[in-house]
Every structure is written in structure tokens, then in C-alpha cells.
């Protein structure tokens, strides 16, 4: 027989075997691939982590040594250090620390404090040169652009890529404003506002930790890069140094450390020489500056204070007006009305008087009129009198003339008689006498004249008797005449008497008239008087009215003016205070700014004595570099343990599959043997088969693993570390053992199984193997249960426990699956429970609704804190607590690596429980904070190895720390805290706490977002409040970070599913093939498809149940391991896994198992009874 020929036949047989059982071949490949990929991949994580950072450091030309000086570094320092032998390149770096606003709005750090920022100088020319391929050794710590573009103008900036430290508001296109801590940065930076154009990472910050700063709480929030022309300072903040030849060492190696340390120490050594002259010159410069500034400050302060006082007075007035104006207006109006009434009354009384006056006047006028009438009545009296007088006079004249006549006639008569008598007696003379007599009688008249003439003629001619005779008629005529005249006279006299009566009457009348006239005159005078008085009264009234009206009008005008003022005041009032406060704030801010700058200068001056150079190697200057190495180490530790589960399961599966295959081909083995092939020749085929499958599987698996797991880990760690793409490398050192173990074990078992089979004689081999003996299981010893089971369950139990190998593999697979699921869900729980415990639970730790950062620090023993009072005065604020918070480093007595802690000193220790739940980490009982000691948080206690009664060392300055006794250890999940009372603080630190924070609870806890924004705006407008952070905002930021872990959970779930599926499927398939006859038999017996399937599935269910239960236990362990790797300093993961996660893990494990069952169901359905039962004919 030609040996070569046999071989070719065997090879053909082997090829056909593979072809015919391709699915088995593939399943071996996939199982091996899974195991090896897990094994190799997990082990590659840590080395890849190291490589990634090594490459990053190399690519970005990261410094080997960094110098930071509190006194700043000069060109001279640069040139001196640059000339040190071994220094390849040296660059001065500038940076400025401050706080940042985005689009004008303040930004909060994740802890709720103001977002602090470090602005680094970036030489854009160097950036572009490097982008064009130049490798300038002086361009160190090169940032890498993650998104956006490099700045093209000086008002553009680049921001931090870290998801943890960078605020959400930092988006490309947003404008950030940089300010100092209570100062502006105008002395350090040219600009103020910068537009974000790119997002970068820098080797300066390997991890999320941004280190410390002198501003804000002391913890640096984030960084930005600004084009270098913005930096005004002449000196450098830091110097980066690259040592020649350092690139030849792996940065994580011991060799690198021992290479660098001498340089570091040497630079430290020479620093004193360089520092001394610098300090001297700075001292001189700053002493002058401080003195000058202090004077300027005092002037400015006085001026501003005066202005403010005036403004405040005004505001007071406005407010007073606004508040009391209405009342006053009312008063004024009332006064006006009163006045108007009064005026009206006065006017009315005037009018009454006037009308009295008028009545009087009327009276007088009546009187006057009456007098007038009376006069009128006597109006003709004058005329009558005159007439009467005339008539009287006439009558009198008549009387007189009558009288005369009478007298004349009497005389005449007498004379004539006498003359006649005489005549009688004496005649001659008598005529003369007679004439004389007549003449003497004075009688004048014709008669006389006639008598005389007649007498005379008679006398002349006549004789006495003639005369007497003449005379006698004469006398008689005379006598007649006399009597007539006497009669006439009497008549005249009567007439006269009449006339006299008339005259008297007339005269009486005239008297009366005169009387009346006098009366009239009097009446007129009186009337005049009355009239005068009336007019006067009228004038008074008018004048009075006018006066009143003008007074009222004046008042009205005043009221109107007042009203207008009131409206203005009211209009201004709501904002007046705010406006003033704003003005005040602004003024104070300016003042504060000046003060702070001055203080900073003073501090700087004072600090110059302690000025020092900090010379750091990469462990110190690339933040997170050391932690990263530690994380990689921890990962490596777990990577050694964890993949074994997969690996062992995979190897076992492989063995089982191969063993099964050989079992199946028993008869063929026998036939070959019978045909005369040697054992080796027969075995060779199976060895080739197994070897080929396991080699393909393990090589493919190693490739897969190297690509998948490190990337996965890198992405997961990406939350903590800001790094470029992971360096993926095929690592023979890890792959080779895995491949060798896989191939060797598979091939080895194949050989062993074949060998065992070939030991027997061919004829035995050619007969089917005797049925395996049924085995009683433990459960049968408990008849109470066993007898109650129906036969299918019985057979299931027997089957499950009969094949121990299969049992272990299947349960192992499910165990792995469940454990992974539980670890995944548990991780999710741990992370989200942080949120719950810290933020949302009923007894959450952070109970306060908001945290307010005060604009400065206040010693309340000196004066009450205005900002705090203002906060408390807000209606929407329920309660508030003043507190002092600052970041310190703390260590234990033994000087363990210091940890960053928040020291919190509440003003009122008894109020703390409303804001923060301090519960004992172990018992959960509330811990009061009192003066016996500080309460510290649990992780801090754990990390620093501090237990109750120990003390914690708070580092105040380098080399100077204070000891605080620890009286309580409280449950906490985010950050580390040291709580103490103000008395304890004072006792320990020697000063009163300077309160700078306020924690507050809202009056209505579920306040609308808009209202919150309004409240925040309102608070921020108050001088003395610089930032407001609502707990739910902080919660959201945390949530975002936590959410990124979710997909790791998903990946783990997929892995788990894959594991469960591959293992269960393969085992089930083997199980089915082994029991083909049995299955065909029950089919023949009349089992329907479902019955047949469940006959098999029961076993899977039991295996799944057992595997799952074990997996839950194992999962808890895996969960702990994962947490140990993933845990960050500032966060304490909750170790508890929720019931739901257990449930989910169980349900999902079952779901995977059921999926396998469903697939198998179709496989079972296809089993052909006839074919399967065909006896070996």
C-alpha cells in the first residue's frame, strides 16, 4: 500500500468531513474565536492604553519637565534654563485664570460653583506651521483639534473637549467672556469676549481633572486656548522643557523616570539663583504700585460712596413717593376739597352778608324813593308858593293901595271936612291952608289935584261958600268914594286874607317840601352809604372768590404735579431699587475690582517672600497622567481574571464538540481501522479538523478581540480621559498563548478521544455504543418531590445531571451571560443610583434646591451679609443657609496622597439637615455636626484610611496643615466633603469662617423652569450674588455624563447574549444529535412537535435556571470588579444592584435561552424519524 495515497485519501476524507459538517466546523471556529477574542482583547486593553498615551505624548511633543513659578518666569529664566545641557527645547507659556461666561450668561461648574477657567496662550503661527508638517521642537504640548477649526483671529478661542469638565454651553460659535475673580482681566488680556471656533484636547490634561486655580472655589473648571497676542503680561506663567533623547524611552517606563529625574532635580536646584533677583525687582515694582494704587483706590471709593449716597436718597424719595404718594395724594385732594368747601362757605356767608346789605340798600332805596315821591308830591309847592306870594302880594298891594286910597279918601274926607269946617270959620287963609292941607296931607291924586286945582281956581275966583259948595259935593263924592273904597278895601282885605291863607298854605307846603327835600337828601346819603357798603360787600365777595379760586387752582396744580410725580415715581419704583442696586453693584464691582486687583497685588507682594519654582515631571505636569497609568494597571489586573471564564467555556465547548464528532464517527473509525490504517493515520484527520478549526477561530478571534475590546474600553474611559484614538496593535505576546492553548487543547482532546476509541477492536467500534446507563439523580432521594414529577421532568432531570461536562459548560455559559448582564445592569444602577441617592431619592443627600455663590466672603460677626439677607427676603425662597465652602487638599496623619475636599461650614449648624442629609454611612442614622469634630464623607474616609476618632489633615499651604478630629462619617456619592461647625472652624483655623455660599430651598419645590430663571435673574441682579445654580441643573449635567455609560451597558448585553447563544446553541445541537434516536422514538410514539421541543427544552430551562442563579452570584463579583476599575476619585459608585437589574438579567438570560430554543424547535421539527431510526443495517 502506498502510504502517500492513503494520505491523500485521508485528506479527501477530512475535506469531505469538513464540508459535510460545515456547521460544526463553523461552530468550533466561532466558539474558539469568542473565547480567544475575549482573552486576547481584554488583555490587550492595558498595553493599548499605555501605547495610546505614549503616542499621544510623543505626537503632541509633550514636555518632559514643567516649571511653574508664583513669581512668574522671565526671558532670562528661559535662556538660563535653555542653556542647561540636555535641554533640547524650552518654551515659555502664558496663562491667565479667571471665571467664564457664555453668551453673557454665567456658567456653573458641575459642583454648582462658578465655572473657573484657565486661558492658555497659543501661538497660531506655530499651530499652522505644525499643521503644514513642520516639526518645531519648541512647539510643545500641541493641542489636537477635535472639532471645528483653528483660530484665525485674535478674538477666537479653542475650548476643552472633555465631556466631564467642559460646560454644555461651550459650543462652536458661542461667545465666552473671561473675567477675573472679582476683577476684570484687562491687565492680563487684551480682549474679553472670544468666539469658540474649535474644540481641542491637550496632553496637559490627560484626565477630566483640571487641577487647581487661585480663583473661585480653587478648583479649575475648564481651559481655553487664546491666540498668544491677547496676552499682555511680559513674564511667563510656566516653562515647558523637553529633554533631548527622552523620546527614546517609553514614557511609562522606569527608565524614562530615571532619565528625567536628574534634570528635574538639577533645575530645581538652580531655581533659587534665578528667583532671587526676580523677587527683588518685583518687590520694588510692586511696593510702589501698591502704595500708589491704595491712594487712588481711597479717592475713588470716597467719590463713589458719595454718588451712591445721593442716588440712594433719590431712590428713597421715589420709593417713599411710590409707597406713600397715593396716601398723600388723597390727603392733598382732601385738603383741596376741604379748602373748596371752606371757600364755598366763606363765599356763602359773604353772599348772605351781601344780601343783608342789599336788603338794607333796598330799604334805603325805598326810603329814598319814598322821599323822592314825597318831593314829587310837593313838586308844585314852589310854583304855588310863588303864585300864592304873587297873588298875596297882589292882594296886599291891592289892600295897600285900597288902604292908601281909603286913607287918602279918609284924609281927603277929613281934610275936606276939616277944610270945609275951617272954611266955614276963616275963609281966605283957609284956602291956602286947604291947599296946603291937601298938599300937606300928602294926598296925591287927581281928586287932590282936582281939588287943589279947583280950590286954587275957586279960591281965585270963588268964594268960601262957592268953595264950600264946591267942596261939599266934592266931599260927598269923597265920602262916597271913601265908602266905596272902604268896601273895596274890605274886599281886598278878604282877598288878602284869602291869599294869605293860600300863601300860608303854600308856605307850609314849601316847608314840607323843604322838609321832604332834607329827608330825601338824608335818604340819598343813606342810600349812597348803603350802596357803598353793598358795593364793598360785593367786591369782598368777588375778591374772596377770586382768592379762593386761585388758591384752589394752586392746590389743584400742586396735586396734578404731585400726581404726575407719583406716576413717575410709581413707574420707577419697582426698578428704582434694582436700578440703584445695579448702579451700586456696578460701582461696587468696579470698586471691588480695583480692590481685588490691589489686594492681588498686595498678596503677590507678600507672597514674593515665599515665591517658589515648582519643577514637575510628567507625573506632576500632565494632569491625570499618573491616574491613567493606575487605571491601566487595574484594568490589566481584571483582564487577567475575567476572560478566563470565556476562555474555559470556549475550550470546553470545543472539546465537547470534537468528542461528539468522534463518537458519531465511531463506526468510520472502526472501518478505517479494519481497513488497516494506522491509529495515527486515522487520528490525523480529526487532528487536522480540530487544528484547522481552532487555528482559524483563535486567529480570527485574536484579531477581533484586539480591535474590539480595547476600543470599547477606550471609549468607556473616554469619559474620564481626553485622549486621541486608541492605538490598536496586534499583540502576538497575548494572542500566541491564547491560540496555542486553544489549538493545543482542542487537538489534544481530539487525540485523546480518538485514541480511547481506537483502543478497542474494530468490530466493537462498528457496533453502536451501548446505551449509557441511566443514572438516578439526587432529587429521586426526595420522593415527595420526585413522585410528583411527571416522567418528562424526570427524564429532564436525569438528562441534565447525567452529563456533567455538558452541565458545567451550559451552566458556565449561562452563568457568564447572566453575570455579564448583571454587571452591565449593575453598572447602570451604580451610576444612576448615585443620581438617585444624591439628587432624587426621598432622603437624597443634596436636599437644597439651589446653591448661590456670593460675590465675596463675609464675616457675619462683623456685619450681616447683604446678599444673604436679600436671598432670604425673596418670596420664592423658602429657606436659606449661609455657608462657607472652599476646596482644600486633605490627607491623613500618615500623609497619604492628598485628596481634594470641599470644606463646608454652615453658619447655622442646626439648619444643615434641611439642605444636606448627613447620614452615617453604615447605620444610616442622621449625624449631627457639632463642635466635637468634623463630619467627613465616606469615600474620603475610606481613601484616606480615616475612621471615627481619627483626625483629618487639611492642607492650607504647602507644608502647613491643620488637624481636625473626625466625629462622623457620612454617606455621600459625589465629591468629598468635610463639614464642621463655625466654632470648630474657628478653633482650628483661628479665624471666623468667611461665608461665601448660600444653599437655599424654594418656597414651592416644583417651581417652573421659567420661574426659576426669573428668580436666578432677580438674584443675580443683586450686588453680592455672583452665581445661582439650581440643583436640577447640576443633576442634568451629571445625568449627561452618566448617560454615556449606557452604551457600554448595551455592548455588555450584546456580549452576554452572544455568549449565551453560542454556548447554549452548540450544546443543544450536540444534545440533540446525541439523542436523535430518542427524539425520533418519541416522535414515533406520537409526540407532537411542541411536545418534542419541550422534552428537550426543559433541559435548557433547567440549565438556564441553574446557570442564571450562579450567574447572579458571579455577576455581583464582576460588578464589583468593574466598579473598581471604573470608579473615579470624585464619585462613589453605589455598590448595590437593584432588584430590577437582577430581574432584567434573569429575564434577558432566559430570553437568550428561549431564542436558542426557538431556533432549535425548527431543527427538531426537521428531524426525520425514518432516517434517525434507521438501524445499522
Amino acid at each position: 500500500m502506498n502510504k502517500k495515497k492513503i494520505n491523500t485519501i485521508l485528506i479527501t476524507d477530512a475535506r469531505r468531513t469538513i464540508e459535510r459538517s460545515f456547521s460544526r466546523f463553523i461552530s468550533i471556529i466561532s466558539i474558539v474565536a469568542l473565547g480567544v477574542s475575549f482573552f486576547a482583547g481584554m488583555n490587550a486593553i492595558a498595553p493599548n492604553m499605555y501605547d495610546t498615551v505614549s503616542k499621544y505624548v510623543q505626537d503632541s511633543n509633550a514636555m518632559d519637565i514643567q516649571i511653574i513659578s508664583t513669581a512668574g518666569l522671565t526671558e532670562n529664566d528661559l535662556s538660563v534654563i535653555g542653556s542647561v545641557t540636555g535641554v533640547e527645547s524650552i518654551t515659555g507659556e502664558k496663562f491667565v485664570d479667571g471665571v467664564v461666561k457664555v453668551n453673557g450668561e454665567p456658567v456653573n461648574d458641575i459642583d454648582g460653583s462658578e465655572m473657573t477657567v484657565r486661558a492658555y496662550s497659543l501661538d497660531i503661527n506655530k499651530v499652522y506651521a505644525a499643521a503644514n508638517g513642520a516639526d518645531d521642537p519648541y512647539y510643545m504640548n500641541r493641542p489636537q483639534l477635535v472639532d471645528g477649526s483653528w483660530p484665525t483671529s485674535s478674538n477666537q478661542c479653542l475650548v476643552d473637549a472633555s465631556t466631564l469638565s467642559t460646560p454644555d454651553e461651550f459650543k462652536i460659535g458661542s461667545v465666552i467672556t473671561l473675567e477675573g475673580d472679582g476683577t476684570d482681566l484687562s491687565s492680563s488680556l487684551q480682549g474679553k469676549d472670544y468666539t469658540i471656533v474649535g474644540i481641542i484636547r491637550t496632553p496637559l490634561y490627560i484626565s477630566y481633572d483640571r487641577g487647581n486655580t487661585t480663583v473661585g472655589t480653587g478648583k479649575l473648571g475648564t481651559f481655553v486656548y487664546l491666540p498668544s497676542e491677547n496676552f499682555l503680561s511680559e513674564y511667563f506663567s510656566a516653562i515647558s522643557i523637553k529633554i533631548a533623547g527622552s523620546e527614546n524611552y517609553d514614557t511609562f517606563s522606569e527608565e524614562y523616570q530615571s532619565f528625567i529625574i536628574p534634570y528635574r532635580d538639577y533645575i530645581e536646584q538652580i531655581s533659587a539663583e534665578l528667583l532671587a533677583p526676580r523677587i527683588a525687582s518685583l518687590k520694588a515694582e510692586y511696593t510702589d504700585l501698591v502704595v500708589k494704587s491704595e491712594i487712588e483706590y481711597a479717592e475713588a471709593k470716597a467719590d463713589i460712596e458719595q454718588q451712591l449716597a445721593n442716588a440712594q436718597e433719590q431712590v428713597k424719595q421715589i420709593l417713599d413717593m411710590a409707597e406713600n404718594g397715593d396716601k398723600m395724594l388723597l390727603e392733598y385732594k382732601q385738603q383741596y376739597n376741604e379748602k373748596a368747601v371752606e371757600a364755598k362757605n366763606a363765599l356763602d356767608s359773604g353772599k348772605t352778608e351781601h344780601s343783608a346789605q342789599y336788603a338794607l340798600w333796598e330799604n334805603k332805596r325805598a326810603e329814598y324813593n319814598e322821599a323822592k315821591t314825597t318831593i314829587e308830591k310837593y313838586a308844585n309847592a314852589d310854583v304855588s308858593l310863588a303864585t300864592a306870594k304873587t297873588e298875596y302880594n297882589t292882594a296886599k298891594l291891592q289892600v295897600d293901595s285900597m288902604l292908601t286910597t281909603v286913607e287918602y279918601l279918609e284924609d281927603l274926607v277929613v281934610t275936606t271936612r276939616s277944610a270945609m269946617e275951617q272954611f266955614d270959620a276963616t275963609q281966605d287963609d283957609t284956602v291956602g291952608q286947604l291947599i296946603s292941607r291937601f298938599e300937606q296931607s300928602g294926598l296925591v291924586g287927581q281928586e287932590v289935584d282936582n281939588i287943589i286945582s279947583s280950590v286954587k281956581s275957586l279960591m281965585a275966583t270963588g268964594t268960601a261958600e262957592e268953595m264950600i259948595a264946591y267942596m261939599e259935593p266934592q266931599l260927598q263924592s269923597f265920602e262916597a268914594k271913601l265908602s266905596a273904597s272902604k268896601q273895596e278895601l274890605s274886599a281886598a282885605r278878604t282877598t288878602l286874607a284869602e291869599k294869605k291863607a293860600e300863601l300860608d298854605k303854600a308856605e307850609e307846603l314849601v316847608g314840607k317840601l323843604q322838609q321832604a327835600q332834607a329827608k330825601l337828601e338824608q335818604a340819598q346819603t343813606q342810600l349812597q352809604e348803603a350802596e357803598n357798603e353793598l358795593t364793598a360787600a360785593g367786591y369782598d365777595i368777588q375778591l374772596g372768590e377770586l382768592e379762593v379760586l386761585s388758591q384752589l387752582s394752586d392746590m389743584k396744580n400742586q396735586i396734578n404735579t404731585f400726581e404726575t410725580n407719583l406716576i413717575i415715581a410709581k413707574d420707577k419704583a419697582p426698578t428704582a431699587e434694582a436700578d440703584f442696586e445695579q448702579a451700586k453693584a456696578q460701582a461696587n464691582e468696579e470698586l471691588e475690582n480695583a480692590r481685588n486687583q490691589l489686594d492681588a497685588a498686595k498678596d503677590f507682594l507678600l507672597g514674593l517672600d515665599n515665591a517658589k519654582w515648582y519643577v514637575n515631571d510628567r507625573n506632576g505636569c500632565l494632569l491625570g497622567f499618573e491616574e491613567y497609568a493606575q487605571t491601566a494597571n487595574r484594568t490589566a489586573a481584571i483582564a487577567i481574571l475575567f476572560p478566563w471564564l470565556f476562555f474555559v467555556v470556549a475550550a470546553l465547548m470545543c472539546l465537547n464538540t470534537m468528542a461528539r464528532m468522534i463518537e458519531e464517527e465511531r463506526t468510520r473509525l472502526g472501518t478505517f481501522k479494519a481497513l488497516g490504517f494506522t491509529d495515527t493515520e486515522i487520528i490525523a484527520k480529526y487532528l487536522v479538523y480540530a487544528g484547522l478549526a481552532s487555528t482559524i477561530g483563535s486567529v480570527a478571534g485574536s484579531f477581533m478581540g484586539f480591535a474590539l475590546f480595547p476600543t470599547l474600553a477606550h471609549t468607556a474611559f473616554g469619559i474620564l480621559y481626553d485622549l486621541p484614538e486608541m492605538v490598536i496593535k496586534y499583540r502576538f505576546s497575548f494572542a500566541l498563548p491564547a491560540i496555542i492553548i486553544s489549538v493545543a487543547s482542542t487537538v489534544g482532546v481530539t487525540y485523546y478521544t480518538c485514541y480511547n476509541n481506537l483502543k478497542v477492536v474494530p468490530s466493537t467500534l462498528m457496533r453502536p455504543k451501548a446505551p449509557k446507563g441511566g443514572k438516578r439523580v439526587l432529587l429521586e432521594k426526595i420522593p415527595q418531590i420526585w413522585t410528583k414529577l411527571n416522567f418528562t421532568w424526570k427524564v429532564t432531570f436525569r438528562n441534565v445531571f447525567r452529563n456533567l461536562k455538558r452541565f458545567l459548560m451550559a451552566t458556565g455559559g449561562v452563568l457568564g451571560c447572566t453575570a455579564l448582564l448583571l454587571a452591565a445592569f449593575g453598572l447602570n444602577d451604580s451610576i444612576h443610583q448615585i443620581m438617585d441617592r444624591q439628587f432624587t431619592d426621598e432622603d437624597k443627600i443634596w436636599r437644597y434646591d439651589m446653591q448661590i455663590v456670593l460675590n465675596g466672603s463675609y464675616d457675619t460677626t462683623v456685619a450681616p451679609c447683604e446678599g444673604y439677607e436679600f436671598i432670604k427676603s425673596q418670596a420664592s425662597i423658602g429657606t436659606a443657609m449661609l455657608e462657607y465652602m472652599e476646596v482644600f487638599e486633605a490627607t491623613n496623619e500618615k500623609g497619604k496622597k492628598p485628596m481634594e475636599v470641599y470644606m463646608l461650614v454652615p453658619e447655622d449648624a442646626s439648619a444643615v439637615s434641611s439642605y444636606i442629609s448627613l447620614n452615617d454611612a453604615k447605620t444610616g442614622k442622621p449625624i449631627p455636626i457639632n463642635s466635637t469634630g468634623a463630619v467627613i464623607t465616606d469615600k474620603l474616609a475610606k481613601e484616606l484610611d480615616i475612621s471615627l476618632g481619627d483626625s483629618i489633615d487639611i492642607i492650607i499651604n504647602e507644608g502647613y496643615s491643620v488637624k481636625v478630629p473626625v466625629a462622623g462619617i457620612a454617606e455621600n456619592y459625589c465629591f468629598h466633603y468635610v463639614y464642621m461647625t463655625k466654632d470648630l472652624y474657628k478653633a482650628v483655623f483661628g479665624i471666623n469662617p468667611l461665608y461665601n455660599y448660600v444653599s437655599a430651598n424654594l418656597a414651592i419645590p416644583d417651581m417652573e423652569q421659567e420661574q426659576k430663571a426669573l428668580l436666578a435673574k432677580n438674584l443675580m441682579s443683586e450686588y453680592g450674588i455672583s452665581a445661582v445654580a439650581f440643583t436640577n441643573q447640576i443633576q442634568d449635567s451629571f445625568q449627561n455624563i452618566m448617560n454615556s455609560i449606557n452604551y457600554i451597558v448595551i455592548i455588555l448585553i450584546v456580549c452576554a447574549g452572544l455568549l449565551a447563544f453560542i454556548v447554549l446553541y452548540n450544546l443543544s445541537v450536540i444534545n440533540i444529535t446525541e439523542r436523535l434516536r430518542e427524539i425520533a422514538t418519541i416522535k414515533v410514539l406520537g409526540f407532537d412537535d411542541m411536545e418534542v421541543s419541550s422534552y428537550i427544552f426543559r433541559e435548557n430551562v433547567i440549565l438556564t435556571v441553574i446557570g442564571t442563579l450562579e450567574g447572579l452570584i458571579f455577576g455581583v463579583i464582576v460588578h464589583r470588579l468593574v466598579l473598581a476599575v471604573a470608579e473615579v476619585d470624585i464619585i462613589t459608585f453605589v455598590r448595590d444592584i437593584s432588584f430590577m437589574s437582577f430581574l432584567y438579567s434573569v429575564v434577558l438570560s432566559f430570553a437568550f435561552s428561549m431564542t436558542v430554543n426557538i431556533v432549535l424547535h425548527y431543527k427538531l421539527k426537521k428531524i426525520d424519524m425514518v432516517e434517525s431510526l434507521k438501524s445499522i443495517e
Partner: protein, 233 residues
Amino acid sequence: MSFIEFDNVYRRYQTGEIIIPAVDGVSFSIEKGEFCLIVGTSGAGKSTVLNILGGMDSCDDGKVRVAGRPITELSKSELVDYRRHEVGFIFQFYNLVPNLTALENVELATQMCKKPVKPEEILARVGLKERLDNFPSQLSGGEQQRVSIARALAKNPKILLCDEPTGALDYRTSKQILSLLHRQCRETGTTVVVITHNQALAAMADRIITMRSGRVVQIAVNDRPVPVEKLEW
């Protein structure tokens, strides 16, 4: 109409391009309560005939009726039902479930049919009263086959199909088994169809169907069957 009727039944297997007619136009009938023997050499198609009759295999052409029911036209689930309630199978290699005891193997069948015989009873009948709790591996070949018969009988089937029931047994045991089957046939009126290549058994059967190359070559009816104990081979 006969109890079992095969009417021109064909069954072809295709391997590549070659079509092998395993059953090539088979027609026969068996009366109720008969003890029928199908004899023929290896590959004569007798197992295929039995499988078709038992509802385990289908035919490509022709009709098979059992008690007037055309089983070749039954749906899959009806076939399951048919196997479950009407047919009892006995195999050459017993096909007992190794993880079940003798009693449990019988229960496997009784658990799912309508009017089962009590498993203990039927096992006593096949003479395994003492071996109820033994696993198949603890039983001899004959005993295993008797469990197998018990399992088939426990369902109270109308037809008992036996594929080389004694093929793996020694002479003495074979006789016992055949006697058991014969008795069952006679006592309960169960129709028993036995496949064998042993022509010597013809004397004990009521009907002997001889097959060769997928065809029926002879159908003989034996009016005077001899008890198996009296046969020698």
C-alpha cells in the same frame, strides 16, 4: 373492505440524480386481528412499507387505508394523532429512552393516550414485574424488547408494527418475544404486522407477504398457523 389496504403504493428516494424506488407499486390488504408477516431480504422495501403504514413516512403515489381511513391523506398533526392512538411500534434496537426506567419508558406512552393500560399491569404481562425500576442498561436485550413491547401495547393500539423485533436477540428470547406478540394478537385482537427476514416464521402467521425489490411477490394466507413454540429455525 379489509382493515389495512395498500393500493398501488410508491415510494421513491432521490439521491443526486438517481431515483431509487424503495416501494414500487405495492398493493395488499390485511384483515383485522391478523398476525401478518412481511418477509423479504434486506432492501426489499419492507421497512418502508411498515414506516408508511405507521405514519412515519409518506408515499409518493397510491393509497393506504387503515380501518377505512386513508392515512396517506392525513395532515401532519393527524398523523401524529394516528401514531399516538392507533399504532404501536416495536423496533429491532428497542429504542428505549436510556434515562427512564422500564416503568417510566412505558409511562412515556401511556401518559399521552386516551385509554391506556396501567403500565405496571402491562409490564407484569410481559413478565417484567420485578424489573419495573430498572434502567434499560440494566436489562438484557430480551427484557428491553419486552419493555419496548409493553410500551407499544400500553397504548392499546389497533395495529402493532414490529420491525425485526428479534433481530438483535438470541433464539430463545426471540421465541419468547414472538410468542408474546402472537398472544397479544390472539388475545386482544390487535392486528400485528411483523417484518422479518426469517422465512421460518411464516408458519405462525395468518398472512405472509413476500417482498423483493420494492414489490410484493407473493401474498399467502395461512389458515392454520402454528404456535411459535413449535417452530424451529
